[in-house]
């Protein structure tokens, strides 16, 4: 299926603006005969918060470990500020990692954990206490400097892990699903703190997660990985509004995936039809639930594609209603502002620009 636009992956994988800090060039990784990463290329700009988003098995953790130095690429290379990174052992890279299970050293106190990187790289005795204190203050853990790490809660351990990495002033900070072990409220709180910390420090963050909401909330750019290859790399708003593929459309946010036939510039799916400037043939379109509106709620524009549908199911969720609509040949999910029970047939509409053509 020929894509309508040039591959967004290629275009957006290049960092715009300041010079690229990290370049991943055609990196592939094989474990035995299983190919986990397939010729991935990505540029990361200095000072940006970029997220590797994907399901388990997508290769996101593997890519992170390649950058950290715990695995070697089977092919391709990684460069930082122009110089080869993948040939260096992990302890020589200016990259630090916040591990998923924090990996705090149980036999060292909080302060000793945080000062570890400074000690082994030969920082002067005089400056260590100051930098440790500064790092602990950044994560609001100054009171716990002498505590044993095993006595801390999950959230506290996570902060210490963060401080331990940041104190070394790395060029790139890798975060491997650091919030996945926290409960929902703590997670939201840590997300805000992480974001503001990153802005304040200006350090480049490479964040790995499978949670698309988290990715959208935190990132300057999202790199969506699927089966070892990049699906799309773009800002959260861009990915949401213009997903490149069906997978991207469905993984990030919710969507209706419409299989349409295009003839003479018109796309047809069941009883729906809308203008589409694409060559004849089959195509998939992504239509977000919130793009479908109830005609009764407000004046549809002149280009609006109107249709009648029966409300099969209605789920109330506070500020809006989630509707299951049944039309001829197709089912749709819609989200409209809360307005009480609806029954039977109603007229709905959507704007044709909201139907985004996606690759499959």
């Amino acid at each position: 299926m020929t894509p309508a636009n040039p591959s967004p992956t290629a275009a957006k994988a290049e960092a715009s603006g300041p010079e690229a800090l990290l370049e991943v060039r055609g990196v592939s990784k094989r474990f035995g005969n299983r190919e986990v990463l397939r010729s991935v290329s990505l540029e990361i700009a200095s000072g940006e918060f970029i997220t590797l988003l994907g399901e388990s098995g997508s290769g996101k953790t593997t890519l992170l470990r390649l950058i950290a130095g715990f695995e070697q690429p089977s092919g391709g290379e990684i460069r930082m500020s122009g110089e080869r990174l993948d040939t260096l052992p992990p302890y020589k890279r200016r990259v630090n990692t916040v591990f998923q299970n924090y990996a705090l050293f149980p036999h060292l106190s909080v302060a000793e954990n945080v000062s570890y990187g400074l000690q082994v790289t030969g920082a002067t005795k005089a400056e260590i206490p100051g930098r440790v204190a500064e790092a602990l203050r950044m994560v609001k853990m100054e009171e716990y400097a002498t505590s044993r790490t095993t006595k801390l809660s999950g959230g506290q351990q996570q902060r210490v892990a963060l401080a331990r990495a940041l104190v070394n002033r790395p060029k790139l900070l890798l975060l491997d699903e650091p919030l996945s072990a926290l409960d929902a409220n703590l997670r939201k709180q840590m997300q805000t703190e992480l974001k503001s910390l990153q802005r304040e420090l200006g350090i480049t963050f490479l964040f790995v997660t499978h949670d698309q909401e988290e990715a959208m909330a935190l990132s300057d750019r999202i790199a969506l990985l699927k089966d070892g290859a990049l699906e799309q790399v773009a800002s959260p708003r861009e990915i949401y509004a213009h997903p490149a593929t069906a997978y991207a459309a469905q993984f990030i946010g919710q969507t209706n995936l419409l299989q349409a036939e295009i003839r003479g510039g018109v796309a047809r799916c069941g009883q729906l039809q809308w203008p589409a400037a694409l060559p004849d043939g089959g195509a998939a379109f992504s239509l977000r639930p919130e793009a479908i509106r109830l005609s009764r709620d407000g004046a549809p524009g002149p280009d609006a594609i109107r249709f009648g549908a029966a409300v099969q199911q209605q789920i109330f969720s506070g500020s809006n209603e989630q509707l299951e609509l049944k039309l001829l040949g197709v089912s749709l999910r819609a989200r409209i502002p809360a307005r009480g029970l609806l029954a039977g047939e109603h007229e709905f509409w959507f704007s044709p620009t909201d139907a985004v053509a996606v690759r499959e």
């Binding site: 388990s56 070697q72 040939t87 052992p89």
Partner: protein, 274 residues
């Protein structure tokens, strides 16, 4: 990866060191096995005329086989005794609280950590004190008691691994604790029981320090060999030693396979990292 980094060199050096340690552990045994086939006795180098004479001599040696039978009797009894008491002890440690529980646990483990002579002599004094004659029975009691800890440790680990909810489900469905024990608990412990039994059997067959002081007229195999050593070294002893080694290896490897299936090794768990 390009070239030899310091890491791979270190790895190579460690590998050689490890191989050397393995050589140290196995060479004496290999030599022993080799010389059991040597016509000209034990000693000198290299062993020239290889023969099966010594094995033939061994198989017609009645005293040795009598002692093997004795050892089997004692080992079999010890397995039964240790497993029964060890199972009860494991259940007690897992589920009951009683005064002196900590002391009990240490006491049970003591024979494993103390030099055999201490346990052996204590049991000797006990035998004399209670008027028991020294014979295979005393040896059996000694082995059975000393090896309870082996059973307890294995079975306790098996109990910990067991899903507690299974017993709860059984009771919930109407089974009495007695039925639950036989239908649910025991089958779950099957592998642990077999593993413990194998280990106890092997240890009992090889036991010498405690047995030394509890033996009467009838010798167990190790003590029969010990008595022979007093008279001089012959390759016949090499032959029986080789057989002991062979059987032990088989039993230990079986034990290991069963154990890793039942309790799992940390190594296995670590290798299964996501």
């Amino acid at each position: 990866m390009s070239g030899a980094t310091p890491a791979t060199n270190r790895s190579r050096f460690l590998g050689i060191y490890a191989a050397a340690v393995f050589a140290f552990l196995y060479l004496p045994i290999i030599v022993l096995i080799l010389y059991s086939f040597n016509r000209d006795g034990v000693g000198g180098f290299p062993p020239k005329h290889l023969t099966l004479n010594w094995y033939q001599l061994l198989f017609s040696d009645g005293a040795i086989w009598d002692s093997v039978v004795n050892s089997l009797l004692v080992a079999g009894g010890a397995v039964l005794l240790s497993l029964t008491l060890g199972l009860l002890a494991a259940l007690a440690l897992d589920r009951a609280d009683f005064p002196g529980k900590a002391i009990f646990r240490r006491l049970v483990l003591l024979p494993l950590i103390l030099p055999g002579i201490i346990t052996g002599l204590s049991l000797l004094m006990f035998a004399v004190f209670s008027g028991l004659r020294l014979n295979l029975l005393t040896v059996f009691l000694g082995h059975g008691t000393a090896l309870i800890s082996v059973a307890t440790t294995e079975l306790f680990a098996g109990l910990q691994k067991m899903d507690r909810a299974q017993e709860e489900a059984s009771l919930d469905l109407g089974a009495t604790p007695w039925q639950t024990f036989w239908r649910i608990t025991l089958p779950n412990l099957k592998l642990s029981l077999i593993a413990a039994g194998l280990l106890i059997f092997t240890l009992s067959m090889d036991e010498i320090a405690v047995t030394f002081f509890l033996i009467g007229r009838d010798n167990t195999l190790p003590l029969e060999i010990w008595a022979r050593l007093r008279r001089g070294i012959t390759p016949e002893i090499n032959a029986i030693s080789t057989l002991i080694f062979g059987v032990s290896v088989i039993l230990i490897l079986i034990w290991y396979q069963i154990r890793t299936r039942s309790v799992g090794t940390e190594a296995q768990e670590l290798l299964e990292r996501p």
